[in-house]
């Protein structure tokens, strides 16, 4: 990763991507089932920070991501991005290429080749003519682990690790202020997962985008993030906030360091407690 790509500015003092979530609550179907998903969540994410949100299933992590991405609106509180209003009760958020989501089960368009997927954002916003966009796409693919060799293949021909990399590049090429990752490495085995961790960290170290990373896996959260936030079961709120002061760049040794262990000890009981509550409630609901 030598020269900087022309369109993705990664000035170290990342001016963009400061996210401030202020007392956000979310209730689904208020008149009917009245399901409380988020209850008075507040979170400050400085620009260029890598934040990981950990919590049991049903703790509102994805609901928060949906609000930040603009797919759903909040029922109380507000969210600002770099000072501007992103979401308030009467100003519903709209999806945009400044906050791109990488989905849990992958959402590469199966009928488009890898290159067509990567440049889709630029082309559809007609920021660049197709030929120029393709050039940029090939350059980015080449520079990120010479993926230009698979530019012409279809997603169904790639391993899940490869698909995830292409999806991250598809988001990155739009020079977003925030990368929103929804448990992207969930179904991967250990070897591919570790490889993807290295890939994501490398992209983060180079382009320094703000990253909002959702996961169930505490080890993954501490290993990747600057801040780890543990959420309670439904209705989700912030239970614990952990500042991870592990040095960057993070390597396999970091995972085995004493400091990593201490950080894990601080959070593991909180996470486990919420998991037990979620597990029991799950059982009761089904009974």
């Amino acid at each position: 990763m030598t020269d900087k790509p022309v369109i993705i500015d990664s000035s170290t003092d990342a001016r963009f991507g400061h996210l401030s979530v202020q007392n956000v609550s979310k209730v689904y179907d208020p008149l009917g089932a009245h399901v409380e998903a988020l209850d008075d969540c507040s979170l400050e994410i400085p620009a260029g920070e890598f934040i990981a949100v950990v919590g049991p299933s049903g703790c509102g992590k994805s609901t928060l991501l949906n609000i930040l991405a603009g797919f759903d609106n909040l029922t109380a509180g507000q969210v600002l991005i770099d000072g501007e209003k992103l979401a308030t009760i009467d100003h519903p958020p709209r999806p945009g290429s400044d906050r791109v989501v990488v989905f849990q089960n992958g959402a590469l368009f199966p009928w488009k080749t890898v290159l067509q997927n990567v440049v889709y954002g630029l082309v559809v916003q007609n920021r660049f003519p197709e030929s120029e966009a393709n050039e940029m796409g090939m350059e980015l693919l080449a520079r990120s682990g010479n993926l230009d060799r698979i530019a012409g293949s279809y997603p169904s021909q790639l391993s899940s690790g490869m698909q995830r990399r292409v999806e991250i590049l598809r988001a990155l090429i739009n020079n977003p202020r925030i990368l929103l990752l929804d448990e992207p490495f969930r179904a991967m085995d250990t070897v591919s997962k570790t490889t993807m961790h290295r890939y994501l960290l490398e992209i983060y170290d180079q382009y320094h985008k703000t990253v909002f990373f959702i996961t169930h896996d505490l080890d993954e959260a501490i290993f990747l993030a600057d801040t780890v936030v543990v959420m309670t079961t439904r209705p989700g709120t912030i239970k614990l906030r952990l500042d991870v002061d592990l040095p960057r760049p993070r390597t396999r040794e970091t995972m085995l360091s004493q400091r990593f262990l201490e950080l894990k000890q601080q959070a593991v009981s909180a996470v486990h407690e919420e998991a037990k509550k979620a597990f029991e409630r799950g059982e009761r609901e089904l009974a």
Binding site: L261, V271, L286
Partner: protein, 270 residues
Amino acid sequence: MAEPQQKSQQDLKGHISIQNLGLSYEDKDGSAVSVIENCSVEFDPGLLNVVMGKSGCGKSTLAYLIAGYLKADQGLIAIDGRAVTKPGADRIMVFQETALWPWMTVTENVIFGPLVRNAFSRAEATSKAEELLERFGLLDFGNKYPGQLSGGMKRRAEIAQALINSPDIMVLDEPFRGLDVMTRELLQEYYLQLFEETRLSTLFITSELEEALFLADRIYVMTEAPNNIEQVIEIDLPRPRSYEVTTTQQYLELKQVAMEYLYAGSEEYL
């Protein structure tokens, strides 16, 4: 299995010995693709043996061979000295995809084995089943259909379905894959507790390193090229184990060793 008790050392059942096992298949254009190559390994009885490897390295095929569903091209599998020729109730498998029969209620699923082998009368089998379901916290789900259960509950019902036949070996093929990490951790603890009470010989297959370390007495690392088992790692973490063990120094060192073996073959970095 009225009340699980500690088995004495000598009469421990479930010793699996595999000698230069080989299996390959012919793909479309006729060239042979090997799934298991000349694999020789011993799994001692009364232990929680974990087979770990990347997805697609033939772990499940090894389990199918031991369970008797597939026939090997060459080599031999023997359990407590008897060669494996066909499936049997002495080694029951819990599959990656849940295999509970959706058209039978949970209780019917559990008593199917004993009844079909007419090992017990229906009344006896039902009472044994209720005992097991109660132990697994599923008693009031007995007459529900599998479709109405959560992922975690289906897994526990499957383990009960296997245990009622008091098998010599439990074969579990990535049973907790796809469950969210929280349910997965709780189910791991669940099985550990069961294992530590009964010392039932277990062959546990996984592609998750943390899961392997937390459960195993021994980890057998399966590699992709050639597909067989070369490394065995002793996991002498104390028993009974609980999730606190994952924050101890000894755990981290063992993880370091396992990572070396895992990455030995495939330096997969771009």
